[in-house]
Structure formats: structure tokens, C-alpha cells
């Protein structure tokens, strides 16, 4: 069992709780027991004190002997519990008298010395009974101090050692310890057996999770199971995670399928062109045409691969806030100029705009604007201008690309999806890869910006990139 095993933790906790319970019970019962035992002992010594008082009528010179005899007798007769090995100590004296009326006869002189010492505090108290526990040798002694009711000046102190009580409680402790150890042992074993059974839902859940693989990731696996309430949150989050993963994997699969499709097509075209030329003798002109066409297809593939790499790169790099200040105007005019030069037109126009700078990555922003304008030129009506304007508020900076083309609403939401094309047949001829806006979207995300496309018939299409400052 590992330390962080739930099984072990539960078993240990239950055992500790049990241990505490036993300890509290032990402590409580021990205290109660001791009190009862001490009570009965007190009664014995109070009884003896009473007897001593009854003897006080005797002449003084006989008293000591008589009391000693009586105590001895009562030790044997009346109080069986008091063994002879446990001598009853007593001292009887009269206030302001140096000599004692009677004192217990013991072999041990320290007792008598000690009993003498006892006179002082006893005298001071007004209580009829005076109980104290004092240490003498190895035993604890318990005394009853008794002021005689008949002879006002006479004090009687009777003491007995506590060995019996100590012994009894010791036995109880031993018994309890053995019982407790056995109980804890049993608890440990029983919880050890029961806990794994209680934990079976966790096992079942993990078995179900084991079945999850790349090809089988639907959260349905966990649907049919009876899950204890405590595991609901866990299982729910696993389900959520699974469905998120599933979606991501489906997207990824779709993307690689699309990418391979997009690459296979120009490859197939180029191959077929070359094979058609090769299959039989052709004129020089035909060969030249075939080579030119194949080169065209190869550059299409090159462009596609370049864009795929760009997208993969954007997917992989971590999102970090750019710190460089970029002049928006400068980038936009660069892009516009390049596209105009490339297409040999002046279709791309920039409206007067204030100086705006924002934090970002220059090459990425360049690419984003390029893709948006390129897209507008590719798919917009031929020859129509694309106008760029900006709008700045306190919180936002918007760059608006306007062209006169119209895109119907059903396509608008999909425009930024990878490989999405409104009109496939046309895009092949225009050479679009279907990745331009997807890349733009990705770059916008990295710049904490978003791209919105709106289109109104007769007015045209606006692509708005909004940067939040």
C-alpha cells in the first residue's frame, strides 16, 4: 500500500478515531473507578475514626493500647478488604498537648514522625472531615482527619495506603490496554477488508477510463455507470475533458484530412500532366506547356505548405503579450503598396487616418492584413477597390477593410474556418488555399483582437479587426 493510497488513509483514519474513542473511554472509566474505590476506602477509615472516638471514654493510659487493639481487630474482622500488610495508621491527640493520646504502632518510625507533622494542618481546619493524599515512600496514603464531636479538643487522623486502589486501577488499565489493542487490530483488519469494497466505484470508474483511447474518446463510456455522489464532480470533469479532447481530436483529424486533400490535389494534377506528356511522343511545345503547368501546380503546393506551416507555428507558440509598439499606419500602407505592386493595380486604398500605435508582432500583423486584403481581392468583384479605414475610441482600435462584394449570411460564420471556401470551383482557379482568413483569425487571437465580417447587399462587405487597448 502506498502512502497516498485512499485505502490506507481511510484505514488509518478509522483506526485513529477508534484509538481516540478507546482512550477517552479508558480515561473516563478509570477516573470513575478510582473515585468509587477511593470512596469505599474513605468510608473504611471514617468508620475506624468513628470507632476510635467511641473508645475515647476509656482512661487515658489505656487508650493507646485499646485503640491499637481495636484497629488491629477491625483490620481482621470488620474490614476484610484491608489486608494486614497494609497497616492502618492513626494518631489521636488533644490540642495544645504535647503528648499524643494514641498513635499507631508501626515498625517504621518515619510514619510516626510524619504523623506528627500532620497535626498542624489538621488543627487549622474547621472541617469535620479532612481528606488528603500524601506521598510516603512508594505509596500514596489517604487520610481522614476527624475532629471529635464529643471531646472538642481531640483530633483523630486515620490513614491507609492507597496500594489497593493503585493496584486495581493498574489492572483496569492493563485490561483496557489489551482490549483496546485487540479492538484496534480488529478495526484495522476489518476496515482493510471493507474499504476496498467501498472503493469499488473508483475502480470501476478507472476501468472505464482505461478503455478510453484515441479512437474511442466519447464520454458515453462513463454514462451507464453508477457513480457515488462524491465522485460526480470528478467524473463530470473527466467527461468534460474527454469531450473537449474528442472535439479537439476530431478537429485535428479533420484538419489533417483537409490538409492532405489540399496537397494531394495539386500533386495529382502535376503528376497527371507529366504522365500525359510522357505517355507518348509529343511536340516540343506540348512538353514546354506540360512543364509550365506542373511548375504552376508545384508553386501552389509550396504556397499551401508555407501557409500550413504558418498555421502550425501559430498553433504551437505560446500566447505572450507583445511589448513592441507598432505603428499601424506604417504597416497598412506597406501591405497596401505591396499588394498594389504585386497585382499591378491601385485597387487597395487607404483613407486618411490618425497615427495609431499598438503593441504587437509586426510580421504577424503584416501577414494578417495581407491575408484579409488578398482575400477581398480574390473573392470580391473584379477590379473593385478595397478601402482601409480606422476608427479609434478610448478602449478600442478598429481597422475596417471595405469592398463592394456581398457574401450571404450563411457563409459569414464559416469564413475563418480552415479550408472553408464559399465557392470551391472558383477558388481553385484563383489559387486560394482556404487558409488565409484562418491564419488571420489566429493572429488576431494572439493580439487580443477579433475579426468580424459583415455584409450588406449593394453596400458591400466589411472586415473589421478590433484591437482592445
Amino acid at each position: 500500500m502506498k502512502f497516498n493510497s485512499l485505502h490506507l488513509r481511510i484505514t488509518v483514519s478509522v483506526t485513529i478515531i477508534q484509538l481516540l474513542a478507546i482512550a477517552i473511554f479508558l480515561f473516563g472509566s478509570l477516573k470513575e473507578c478510582k473515585e468509587v474505590l477511593l470512596d469505599s476506602q474513605d468510608q473504611i477509615i471514617s468508620g475506624i475514626a468513628q470507632d476510635i472516638q467511641n473508645l475515647l471514654d476509656l482512661p487515658k493510659n489505656q487508650l493507646n493500647d485499646a485503640i491499637n487493639r481495636m484497629v488491629k481487630d477491625s483490620t481482621v474482622n470488620r474490614y476484610e478488604q484491608v489486608s494486614s500488610k497494609k497497616p492502618i495508621l492513626f494518631i489521636v491527640w488533644q490540642d495544645n498537648q504535647k503528648d499524643n493520646i494514641a498513635i499507631s504502632q508501626t515498625d517504621n518510625q518515619t510514619f510516626n514522625y510524619w504523623l506528627d507533622q500532620f497535626k498542624l494542618p489538621a488543627k487549622k481546619t474547621k472541617k469535620q472531615h479532612y481528606e488528603t493524599t500524601l506521598k510516603q515512600d512508594d505509596y500514596v496514603y489517604r487520610f481522614t482527619c476527624y475532629a471529635s464531636t464529643t471531646l472538642p479538643d481531640v483530633n483523630i487522623v486515620v490513614g491507609i495506603n492507597n496500594r489497593d486502589v493503585e493496584h486495581e486501577t493498574g489492572e483496569i488499565i492493563n485490561f483496557m490496554l489489551i482490549l483496546g489493542t485487540i479492538m484496534i487490530g480488529i478495526t484495522f483488519v476489518v476496515t482493510g477488508v471493507i474499504v476496498p469494497r467501498l472503493l469499488t466505484p473508483i475502480d470501476t470508474t478507472s476501468q472505464a477510463l482505461k478503455k478510453v483511447s484515441l479512437n474511442n474518446m466519447s464520454a458515453d463510456l462513463l454514462k451507464e455507470m453508477q457513480i457515488p455522489t462524491e465522485l460526480h464532480v470528478f467524473v463530470d470533469s473527466v467527461k468534460n475533458m474527454l469531450s473537449r479532447l474528442d472535439r479537439a481530436i476530431i478537429q485535428q483529424k479533420q484538419f489533417s484530412a483537409d490538409a492532405s486533400h489540399e496537397l494531394r490535389t495539386p500533386l495529382a494534377v502535376a503528376k497527371s500532366t507529366l504522365q500525359t506528356a510522357q505517355i507518348r511522343e509529343r511536340t516540343n511545345q506540348e512538353y514546354q506547356a506540360a512543364i509550365a503547368e506542373s511548375l504552376e501546380d508545384i508553386s501552389r503546393m509550396e504556397k499551401l505548405i508555407e501557409q500550413l506551416m504558418a498555421l502550425a507555428h501559430l498553433d504551437n507558440i505560446e500566447i505572450k503579450t507583445a511589448t513592441t509598439e507598432i505603428k499601424l499606419n506604417a504597416i497598412l500602407s506597406q501591405v497596401a503598396q505591396q499588394i498594389n505592386n504585386c497585382h499591378n493595380t491601385d485597387q487597395v486604398k487607404i483613407n486618411d487616418m490618425p497615427d495609431i500605435s499598438l503593441r504587437g508582432y509586426e510580421d504577424e500583423l503584416y501577414r494578417m492584413f495581407y491575408n484579409i486584403i488578398d482575400n477581398a481581392l480574390l473573392y470580391g468583384p473584379e477590379g473593385h477597390p478595397v478601402t482601409i479605414s480606422t476608427k479609434k475610441t478610448d478602449k478600442q482600435t478598429a481597422v475596417i477593410f471595405h469592398d463592394s462584394g456581398y457574401i450571404s449570411a450563411e457563409y459569414l460564420d464559416h469564413l475563418c474556418e480552415r479550408f472553408y471556401r464559399v465557392d470551391k470551383a472558383r477558388s481553385r482557379n484563383t489559387g486560394g488555399s482556404g487558409l488565409g482568413l484562418a491564419i488571420a483569425q489566429k493572429i488576431a487571437e494572439r493580439h487580443n483582437a477579433h475579426i468580424e465580417i459583415t455584409s450588406i447587399p449593394d453596400t458591400g462587405t466589411d472586415v473589421t479587426v478590433t484591437f482592445s487597448c
Binding site: 492532405s260 486533400h261 494531394r264 490535389t265 495529382a268 504522365q275 505517355i279 503547368e293 481553385r428
Partner: protein, 228 residues
């Protein structure tokens, strides 16, 4: 044999059409659009359809389904960039006869087309033997006994078509439909002219009248009585 290619990559469709015409002597129609392709495929008696799957307008599988829904047994080859097992299984299960993924080898495509057409006329063996006449459909050669008969492309197409359906009367219009593509201008007596030139070329080596004319009904390539 008449073939329809539905493929939105204009250059690719053009290349395939060129090779099928030049190397196999087929009459080839090309459509770059799914909707048009579907119309052509369902309204003309093609011997083979070559369909791309991802097409503008109407996808290749849709065309495949509508052709099969009309109970047409035309051989269909799917030529697509989709190469996953599921796509292939799905295509074949929908009723296509063959599946080729892009990029493909032109010679392989050609061989597959020949095989599909042979099979559709229940003539799986590439050599058609009819007594003394032997037609090698791979080399497009016709022999009578050991004499090589030199036929033009159209003459060969006509003879091969008749040989695929021996001892059957084949109408003039059926011949025209299978030998000419959609754009070809057909003169009213063109079949008669080709039949007579074929006969002439055979008459150089034999006295047999190779192709029988069934008046007002059509033509028939007949096996010799003793060969049946």
C-alpha cells in the same frame, strides 16, 4: 466506349480525358461541376463514370447514388483525394466498382478503366476471340487469322463495341451514343461509312462479310455457325 469524367480540377480532368482518348480510344465527356455531372451521368448511356468526391454543386457520392437509384449498371470509378479506409468502404458500399486515390498513376487508371469496361460487358479477358477474328483490347489490334487489320481509331472503336456484344443487333443510335462524346458532330451516315470501310479492310484478306446489316434495325457482328 464512352466515358464521363466529373472532376473540378480542370487540368486534371483534361489530362485524364486526353489519355483515355489517345490511349484507349474512348469517347470522353468532361464536367467540372457536380450538378452538371449528375445530369450528364443520369441522362446518357456511359460505359464508365470517373467521379471525384468533393465537387462544387453536388458531390460525387450523390452522383453515384442517383445513378444507382436509376438501376443503371454503369461501371463507376471514384477518383478522389480521400484515402481513409472509411471513405473507401463507404464509396464501395454505395455501389462504385473501383476506388482510386489521388495522386494516382495514369497508366494504372487506364488499366483500371479497361478492366471495368471489359467486366461491364462480361468480357473479362482482354483478348476477344471470335473465330478467325481476334481483338486485343489492350493493344487495340485486330487480327484476322494471322493478318493484322489496320483500322483507324473510330473503326476500331466501332468494331470493339460490336465485339463486346456479339450476335446482338445493335442500333445505329446506340453505336453513336457509345462512340461519340457529347460535343462531337455526328453526320447521319457516319456509322454506315465506318462499317463499309471496316468491311473493305477485312475483304483484303477474306471473303466473309464481317458485319451484318439488319435493315432498319442496326448492325450485328456474327460468329460463324460452326464456332458456336
Amino acid at each position: 466506349m464512352r466515358v464521363l469524367i466529373v472532376e473540378d480540377e480542370i487540368k486534371l480532368a483534361r489530362n485524364i480525358a486526353k489519355v483515355l482518348t489517345e490511349e484507349a480510344g474512348y469517347a470522353v465527356d468532361v464536367s467540372n461541376d457536380g450538378t452538371e455531372g449528375k445530369f450528364l451521368a443520369t441522362s446518357n448511356p456511359y460505359d464508365l463514370l470517373i467521379l471525384d468526391i468533393m465537387l462544387p454543386g453536388c458531390d460525387g457520392l450523390e452522383i453515384l447514388k442517383s445513378v444507382r437509384n436509376l438501376k443503371k449498371t454503369t461501371a463507376i470509378l471514384l477518383l478522389t483525394a480521400r484515402d481513409s479506409r472509411d471513405d473507401i468502404v463507404n464509396g464501395l458500399d454505395l455501389g462504385c466498382d473501383d476506388y482510386l486515390t489521388k495522386p494516382f498513376d495514369m497508366l494504372e487508371l487506364l488499366a483500371r478503366c479497361r478492366a471495368l469496361i471489359r467486366r461491364s460487358y462480361a468480357q473479362p479477358y482482354p483478348l476477344i476471340n471470335m473465330g478467325d477474328i481476334c481483338i486485343d483490347t489492350n493493344k487495340q489490334q485486330v487480327k484476322f487469322q494471322n493478318h493484322l487489320i489496320d483500322l483507324s481509331a473510330m473503326e476500331y472503336r466501332l468494331l470493339e463495341y460490336l465485339a463486346h456484344k456479339p450476335n446482338q443487333i445493335i442500333s445505329k443510335s446506340e453505336i453513336e451514343e457509345h462512340l461519340y462524346d457529347f460535343g462531337a458532330e455526328i453526320f447521319s451516315n457516319v456509322v454506315e461509312v465506318y462499317v463499309s470501310t471496316i468491311r473493305k479492310k477485312f475483304n483484303a484478306v477474306t471473303d466473309l462479310k464481317i458485319i451484318k446489316t439488319m435493315r432498319n434495325r442496326g448492325y450485328m457482328l456474327e460468329l460463324y455457325q460452326d464456332e458456336i
